[in-house]
């Protein structure tokens, strides 16, 4: 019996040595540990032995099986941990498999940023119609018929029934009185949206563009409040400390009215080609809401004060991304949109 055990062990060790891969290892495993293996026969033959013999050989056979299992496991680990450097080589520099990604339009990205900043400052996002009555686009914001300011905004007129004409809104200010009619101050709101001007296009002019309107109304809103909101917004938007400069200007729906500049985002005010060496970049118009606008909204005269300001989304996007031609925004060229 002893002899038989030793023989099996010796043969197996020899066979195991010749094993070259996992496949031949499995053959060895079946041959020595399988149901029909010599070891299985040996285990079977033990059953027929006397109790003393069983006690003598049993542990020996079990030890042999354990040792065989162990050796095969070791061999198995060896093969699993080792690999063929040549046949299993891959080119890690080849491009990865990518799902084609779509892209948001840059104006959407900029608009979202702006909306997020204003929302955190407690502003409501409002919307209004793009085709508008003459009243809300002009009269309500203190631009009555024959007002010279109507000339400042070249208007697309829309045919409606029975000699009534509407306009393609020339600014987002059309929403000012619409919103005020529905709400009682104090409030803070913004209106982003598409506006239209009947003018020829070039690298810096478009007949279709987007504006952003801000309106804050309360019991004692001041120029100082406007400066604070404007500074906070632009600093957030450009992730820099932005200063605001206010200059006198004229818009019929505000009094006092101003144009506002921000400190140049490129040179931080020291003067460069972006700001034409002035250190300032003209961004938009603003002012204290004209009492006539409050009257148009049905508010009592002199009960409230407020500020309104507006600027072009395209202009901010052009500043942020250094885009040199406004016509790209509506050009529909996917090579433009996919850069953002």
């Amino acid at each position: 019996m002893n002899e038989k055990i030793a023989q099996i062990e010796k043969k197996m060790l020899k066979d195991l040595e010749e094993v070259k891969d996992l496949k031949s290892l499995e053959k060895v495993r079946i041959a020595y540990l399988g149901k029909k293996s010599m070891l299985a026969e040996l285990m079977k033959s033990i059953k027929d032995l006397s109790p003393e013999k069983k006690r003598e050989y049993g542990p020996l056979v079990n030890a042999l099986r354990a040792s065989m299992q162990d050796k095969i496991a070791q061999k198995n680990d060896y093969f699993e941990d080792n690999f063929n450097a040549l046949s299993e080589w891959i080119d890690v520099t080849a491009p990865g498999q990518r799902v084609t990604r779509g892209h948001l339009h840059p104006l959407t990205i900029v608009q979202r940023d702006i909306e997020k900043i204003f929302t955190t400052m407690g502003f409501v996002i409002a919307d209004g119609p793009e085709i508008e009555t003459e009243f809300f686009n002009f009269d309500a914001v203190n631009m009555p018929d024959n007002h010279p300011a109507r000339d400042m905004q070249d208007t697309f007129w829309i045919h409606a029934e029975k000699n009534v004409r509407h306009v393609l809104r020339t600014h987002t200010s059309n929403v000012q009185v619409r919103y005020m009619q529905e709400h009682t101050p104090p409030f803070r709101m913004i209106v982003p949206g598409r506006v239209f001007r009947q003018e020829a296009t070039d690298a810096s002019h478009e007949h279709t563009f987007h504006q952003f309107e801000t309106l804050v109304v309360g019991k004692s809103i001041s120029v100082a409040n406007f400066l604070h909101i404007a500074e906070s917004f632009f600093s957030q938007f450009f992730h820099a400390e932005i200063k605001i400069r206010v200059r006198p200007s004229y818009f019929p729906f505000v009094e006092p009215g101003f144009e506002f500049d921000i400190s140049c985002t490129n040179c931080e005010g020291s003067g460069c080609s972006t700001c034409q060496r002035t250190g300032w970049i003209e961004v938009g118009g603003a002012g204290m809401v004209h009492q006539n606008v409050f009257l148009a909204a049905g508010y009592e005269k002199n009960k409230y004060t407020g500020f309104a300001w507006g600027f072009g989304l395209e202009r901010l996007a052009m500043m942020r991304y250094k885009i040199d031609d406004i016509r790209h925004f509506h050009g529909g060229d996917i090579r433009f949109a996919t850069q953002f």
């Binding site: 502003f123 200059r247 006092p256």
Partner: protein, 788 residues
């Protein structure tokens, strides 16, 4: 308007440089768009004396001049026909860079060396080229700098006067008044004609749109060129010098802001101002013939028009070189009338530019004073008579505004000293009476824009300096803003399609009539009354036009493009009310391969989108009526309605027909287009569909494969299978669809999943169900389940 720095300095007594004035105005008043130093570009131009002229050996039109420029004698090749020996001429030396950008270099012209250039007026930006080089007076000192000789020592400021300040600031007096005010002074006010005359030629005002008319009759006029200083001044400010009469009227307008017109006196023996008759004709100075309406205002000789009031004089009464007597008109007309006439007839003149900005009728006195002075001094004219009719005089006087001090501080948001406010108002020539903390302000008639307390607060704010106001946070309580659900939905939609590989575009809100027709929208559109091009005729009723144009553009450089747009379209209203604006989603998948239909590529993305909204029961149906008009035309057998249920269509999808694709410029490619009404989806979307417990027992999967007829639809099979399976069926998935190109036979294979929430299903239970399903599905014509 262009302003002369020297002139502003003389009137305002400022000590500031032109640059300092520009900065001062920028911060407190107006933007200065340009500063133009007259010396610039003319630094290296000197006075030369033409000593000799010889003809050029190789060119008929060229001559060789020897010019003495003081320090040396230069040989210059010149092509001017008026070049003559002994002339004094401006010579640009080698190295000069002229106002038009021309650099003067030593050159050989047709083989002859030329050192410098003899200049024409336009080359020095001093008027238009007229017949050759500029010829100077005989006594011009040789070698002297041209700018010194011509007294070109001014700086021209191009100032952008705000629309509400046109009435007081579009003149040198006006701008000097502004500068002095900013420096804390009141301008030493100009002289005025004090006396009122009514005894001159008869003047009748028959309309309220003329508030004042002053006619000054002058005799013994000799029409001739103006003195050089006057010509130079006008030229520098962009006006052509014409003759002494016209030049003086222009000069006074630039000085005071008041337009003046000169008639030949014998054509205006009497003057009547009236509205025009309907269809009345007038011929203007520049030979323009106009047909007028009742809203136009005329100056007549009692009968016939002699001028279109406030805009331009008439041809018939125009002065000529022989004129000896003239009548000067210094008047005031209604701003709206002038503006309307100007726009109606498209006449942009300096006079109209000022009248439409509602100048002060009292300016007439200032202009009359200067007119009388200059005409007598310069032309030797004698004042024959003056008539000054001023019907609205009683209405044009100072008005008062009560301004509480606390209002100023409230609106500006800063504390400001009362004495400071008083001095600002005083420097604005506003007289003050103060009661407690309220200023009662008496406004001078020149400042017609100051009508309300806010107008005054603006004056105080800008003079005080907005830069001195410290930013202050809002004090009003912040409430959490209502969210804009529609915007969030748009954003969500955009993000989902970006994840599907689609890129966002934005296209115009209008398109051409023919574009609409080509995509199939033959019905009513909202029309733009004043489009600039045919691309702006119709307000869009589909996003397809913009997206297909973009697809065509991208088609030239990509194999495949995926585009979307979220934007509004506009449904015409049948009443005077505003049209409905709908937020739509347009999608296009374009691929340069026509071998197979790409319908399902786009469909898959839309299915993902709808499923994400919890709209699991959506389906694509081909129940499209044949007689559909005024709808996007698709390939007839490759289109579907996108339905949420039997009653709700949320959109359409289909292959763009070849003819449409070709029209938009999409070549060798197939485009699948879909358009979805976002409001319908938003309304139906289920944002929270609740929680489904995870299965406790394993699912059993069976595959079923079948041959089906040529036009048997997947939906029909799925519906039959699911109807016959009972509630243990948990899912049916098509995993293979094969079409035999030769015989058109199709086969489909489905994964079918059974699952119970209560126990593990046995094979026998599932077999019974499968048999029932096979039985049911084989009842459909042309369906035969393959044996597994």
């Amino acid at each position: 308007m262009q302003y002369s720095y020297n002139w502003l300095k003389e009137i305002s007594q400022t000590k500031k440089t032109a640059e300092e004035i520009a900065q001062l105005l920028l911060v407190h008043s107006f933007e200065v768009e340009e500063l133009r130093d007259q010396r610039k570009g003319r630094e290296d131009v000197v006075i030369g004396h033409v000593l000799q002229i010889a003809s050029h050996p190789d060119a008929d039109k060229l001559q060789i001049a020897t010019v003495d420029v003081g320090e040396e004698k230069l040989q210059i090749v010149c092509g001017a026909p008026n070049l003559q020996k002994n002339q004094k001429v401006p010579v640009a030396l080698v190295g000069a860079k002229l106002p038009n950008g021309l650099k003067i270099k030593k050159a050989k012209i047709r083989g002859i060396e030329s050192r410098g250039m003899i200049c024409a007026p336009d080359e020095l930006d001093l008027g238009s080229e007229n017949g050759g080089i500029m010829i100077l007076k005989e006594d011009a000192p040789i070698g002297e700098l041209f700018t010194t000789y011509k007294k070109l020592d001014d700086t021209i400021l191009e100032i952008d006067v705000l629309p509400n300040r046109g009435h007081d600031a579009l003149s040198h007096y006006g701008m000097a008044r502004e500068i002095a005010m900013l420096e804390g002074r009141i301008l030493n006010e100009s002289h005025r004609q004090q006396q009122k005359y009514t005894q001159g030629i008869p003047v009748k005002i028959l309309t309220p749109t003329c508030s004042r008319y002053c006619a000054i009759s002058l005799s013994d006029i000799k029409i001739e060129p103006s003195p050089q200083w006057l010509q130079d001044k006008l030229t520098a400010l962009g006006h052509n010098a014409i003759n002494n009469v016209v030049d003086i009227t222009n000069y006074i307008m630039l000085l005071t802001g008041q337009p003046i017109h000169a008639f030949q006196a014998n054509f205006a023996p009497q003057i009547t101002i009236r509205q025009a008759e309907k269809n009345e004709k007038v011929t203007l100075l520049d030979d323009t013939q106009l047909t007028l309406s009742k809203n136009d205002l005329l100056i007549t000789d009692g009968k016939n028009p002699i001028a279109l009031a406030g805009i331009m004089g008439g041809k018939s009464s125009a002065i000529s070189n022989k004129t000896k007597e003239i009548t000067l008109e210094i008047a005031h007309f209604d701003a709206r009338t002038i503006r309307a006439t100007k726009s109606r007839h498209n006449l942009h003149t300096d006079a109209a530019y000022r009248f439409e900005r509602d100048i002060d009728p009292n300016l007439v006195d200032v202009a009359a004073f200067h007119a009388i002075k200059m005409f007598t001094e310069i032309t030797g004219a004698k004042v024959k008579s003056i008539t000054d009719i001023y019907p609205q005089e009683s209405q044009v006087k100072k008005w008062s505004i009560a301004l509480p001090h606390k209002e100023i501080e409230k609106i500006l948001g800063t504390q400001i000293d009362q004495t400071y406010v008083q001095s600002i108002l005083k420097n604005l020539d506003i007289t003050l009476t103060q009661k407690n903390d309220v200023y009662l302000c008496h406004i001078p008639t020149i400042r017609r824009d100051l009508q309300s307390p806010e107008d005054l607060i603006e004056e105080i704010g800008r003079v005080y300096g907005y830069d001195k106001i410290k930013p202050k946070p809002l004090k009003e309580p912040v409430t959490i803003p209502h969210h804009n659900a529609q915007r969030e939905y748009e954003n969500h939609t955009k993000d989902l399609f970006v994840a599907e590989g689609y890129s966002e575009i934005k296209s115009y809100s209008y398109y051409a009539k023919n574009d609409a027709k080509q995509v199939g929208l033959n019905g009513k559109h909202i029309t733009v009354l004043n489009p600039m091009s045919s691309e702006q005729e119709y307000m869009r009723r589909t996003l397809a036009v913009g997206i297909l144009k973009s697809a065509a553009k991208n088609n030239s450089f990509t194999e495949e493009s995926k585009l979307f747009e979220v934007g509004r379209f506009y449904i015409p209203s049948t009443s005077q009310k505003l049209p409905q604006e709908k937020m739509m989603l347009g999608l296009a998948y374009t691929k340069k391969s026509n071998r197979i239909s790409h319908f399902h590529t786009l469909k898959g993305s839309i299915e993902n989108f709808l499923t994400e909204q919890g709209l699991h029961n959506h389906y694509f149906s081909d129940d499209i009526p044949n007689d559909l008009t005024d709808a996007i035309i698709f390939h007839p057998t490759r289109q579907a309605f996108i339905r949420l249920d039997n009653n709700t269509i949320c959109g359409v999808i289909g292959e763009i027909p070849k003819r449409t694709a070709k029209y938009f410029g999409i070549k060798n490619a197939q485009t699948i287009y879909a358009e979805i009404d976002l409001a319908v989806i938003e309304k139906a979307a289920k944002s929270n569909t609740g929680y489904q417990p995870l299965p406790k027992y394993p699912a059993v999967t069976r595959d079923l494969s079948m041959r089906v007829g040529k036009h048997t639809r997947v939906a029909d099979i799925e519906r039959t299978l699911s109807a016959s399976a009972g509630n243990l069926l948990s899912d049916i998935n098509l995993f293979d669809l094969y079409e035999n190109k030769k015989n058109g036979e199709r086969s489909m294979a489905f994964h079918i999943l059974f699952q119970s929430q209560k126990k593990t299903l046995t094979a026998d239970e599932v077999d019974v169900l499968i048999k029932k399903m096979i039985l049911a599905v084989e009842k459909i014509a042309d369906v035969e389940v393959k044996k597994i």
